[in-house]
């Protein structure tokens, strides 16, 4: 599938490039833009970014595969990230994670059939004092229990 940045995003890229002395340095913010527009980082997105930043496709691929927040496959409309690291684990992070798994019927890094939800077991999100937590796309939901998780999932289902 072909990928071209929208004119608005091309303007944004121009602004981003002003922030760094080299073009290559803009790769992370530009990848975020690409992901925002395309939903995930496809080969086409990488090729387009490589040509804009005048670097090789491989350099872009190298960055994409290094960081967990760049998706190499399409994820759900609501990407649920459950932290199970030690502070969350001590306060029931795994209960929440397993509960979400059951509720949605998907495993780590899987997407529901309707494409509405995807699940990721993430490392510490910096919510140790308000554990356990779930992040839905960009938003944090903290101090959770199973009931609250159900509420969140229900409200997300109704929204779509």
């Amino acid at each position: 599938m072909e990928f071209k940045f929208t004119p608005e995003n091309l303007e944004k890229i121009k602004d981003i490039l002003k922030k760094y002395p080299t073009k290559k340095s803009a790769i992370m913010p530009v990848l975020y833009l690409g992901q925002e527009q395309n939903g995930w980082i496809s080969t086409e997105v990488m090729t387009e970014i490589a040509s804009i930043l005048e670097i090789t496709d491989e350099e872009v691929l190298g960055v994409v595969t290094f960081y967990t927040m760049f998706f190499e496959k399409p994820m759900g409309k609501n990407h649920l990230q459950v932290c199970t690291n030690v502070s969350c684990m001590l306060r029931g992070g795994y209960d929440i994670y397993n509960h979400v798994k059951e509720e949605l019927g998907i495993d780590n890094m899987e997407v529901t059939e309707d494409g509405n939800f995807s699940l990721e077991e993430v490392e510490c999100m910096g919510s140790c004092g308000t554990a356990p937590m779930i992040a839905v796309n960009e938003d944090y939901y903290e101090n959770l229990n199973k009931e609250k998780v159900n509420e969140i999932i229900e409200s997300l289902k109704n929204k779509s």
Partner: protein, 440 residues
């Protein structure tokens, strides 16, 4: 006790409230002094880095070359990904302008014209909050070219927010620089240190968000005042993030040297159900854990913790009660470092996966006492043999947990080695492939 980093003032994140409370006066004071004077004051104040290594901040600044034809940079480390640490987000949310002012003073002191604030990608909300504060500061003429008019000075500096993308290793300073440069976040071999060869090969200083946020108060109230707060060898207040089995988890700003038991029992409200404490990790998951019976009288500052065989780290205190399954906890911690190892150095890349597999085996009840020695062996072979400190971060919890809780771990393993195949490769390598079996 006066709070320095997170004062109890409502709406302090707003520019006008911050100004009413003496905001952006420290930068004026600083600009009236020579850069050497400022570095000297910060050095004398005894301010030490809050990102984990507790390095003397003023000393770090003084490493920056005075004369260079290259641009100089400041990196502010807000990558905060250490499990158990969640303090920087409080600063970004509640006191962003003091951070901005601290950045300006630091840039002036080290002669940098650009500062990159690296904030972890998951912190969308806090990036936005900080960006809003930064836009206000720009609009008011406190940052950027307009500074010259506002403060009647020749100095101007730009502050740029760089969003991470989910890699713990990017909190390591050289990896953070590679990440800003648009590369994979691999740590660099040191020396050369960042002050010689940092961002794009230029002199660079990297400080933690909390460290920088202390600076305006030091300039305003003087280094004598600051150096008298808390423990003399590690002065100032520290943001302690308390998590795990406590009644009131959260971030508490307290003078360094506050008793660990005071933090847990008074400030964080004690352990739910009045249970006993089995284990406390005092400085984020990579620091050596303490036994519950070791914490009495332990002061929370770099030197005191070193004396009891641990480290202040990021001040993230993780409390575990007597019902905690330590094997599972350690397996989870190891899984984290396995996941986050960047893969450059063999001992860390391979060792972390060994640790996880051995610990999983023990957690499933299939471990032997031999495995405990093997854990320590593997951990000791990672430690000190890697480019960056992630090696230590992965090895310390395992090595210290197993040695300090040996009795606990011994109870969880079988005394005899029972392997599905009679082949104890790790202890008797020559029996695995007997010489007599090899035919030419």
């Amino acid at each position: 006790m006066e709070r320095i980093v997170l004062p109890d003032i409502e709406n302090l994140h707003k520019l006008d409230v911050y100004k009413e409370n003496g905001g952006y006066t420290a930068i004026v004071k600083a600009l009236g002094q020579s850069t050497d004077d400022i570095i000297d004051q910060v050095k004398k104040s005894g301010l030490r880095g809050r990102g984990g290594a507790a390095f003397v901040a003023g000393l770090k600044w003084s490493f920056m070359p005075k004369i260079t034809d290259k641009p100089k940079y400041l990196c502010v480390n807000g990558d905060e990904s250490e499990p158990g640490s969640f303090k920087d987000r409080q600063i970004l949310e509640y006191n962003p302008h003091q951070l901005i002012e601290g950045i300006l003073i630091t840039c002036y002191a080290i002669g940098a014209k650009t500062a990159y604030v690296y904030i972890r990608g998951e912190y969308h909300k806090w990036i936005n909050l900080f960006q809003n504060a930064l836009s206000d500061a720009y609009a008011a003429g406190y940052v950027g070219d307009k500074m010259k008019e506002t403060f009647k000075t020749n100095f101007a500096c730009e502050i740029i927010v760089h969003k991470g993308a989910g890699a713990y290793i990017c909190g390591e300073e050289s990896s953070l620089m590679n990440s800003i440069e648009g590369k994979r976040g691999y740590p660099r071999v040191k020396p050369p240190f960042p002050a010689q060869n940092g961002l794009w090969g230029c002199p660079t200083t990297i400080n933690n968000v909390e460290t920088i946020t202390n600076v305006p108060k030091i300039i305003n109230k003087g280094w004598e005042w600051y150096s008298q707060i808390g423990e003399p060898k590690h002065p100032g207040t520290i943001l302690f993030g308390v998590s795990g089995h406590v009644n009131k988890p959260g971030v508490y700003e307290l003078p360094s040297g506050t008793l660990l038991t005071d933090i847990i029992y008074s400030y964080a409200g004690g352990v739910p159900g009045d249970k006993k404490i089995l284990c406390v990790i005092p400085g984020g998951s990579s620091m050596p854990p303490l036994r519950g019976d070791q914490i009495e009288g332990v002061k929370m500052d770099a030197e005191s913790l070193k004396a009891v065989g641990s480290s202040i780290g990021t001040g993230g205190i993780i409390v575990m009660d007597e019902d905690t399954d330590l094997v599972k906890v350690l397996a989870r911690i190891s899984k984290f470092y396995y996941h986050e190892s960047c893969g450059q150095c063999t001992p860390c890349r391979e060792g972390t996966s060994w640790l996880v597999r051995i610990l999983d085996r023990i957690a499933q009840g299939n471990g032997s006492s031999h495995d405990l020695d093997l854990l320590i062996n593997v951990a000791s072979n990672i430690e000190g043999n890697t480019i960056c400190a992630l090696g230590e971060a992965a090895a310390w919890p395992v090595r210290f947990m197993v040695t300090r809780f040996r009795d606990y771990f011994e109870e969880r393993v079988q005394k005899e080695v029972t392997l599905p195949v009679k082949n104890t490769v790790h202890s008797m390598r020559d029996t695995a492939f007997p010489i007599t079996d090899i035919k030419d």
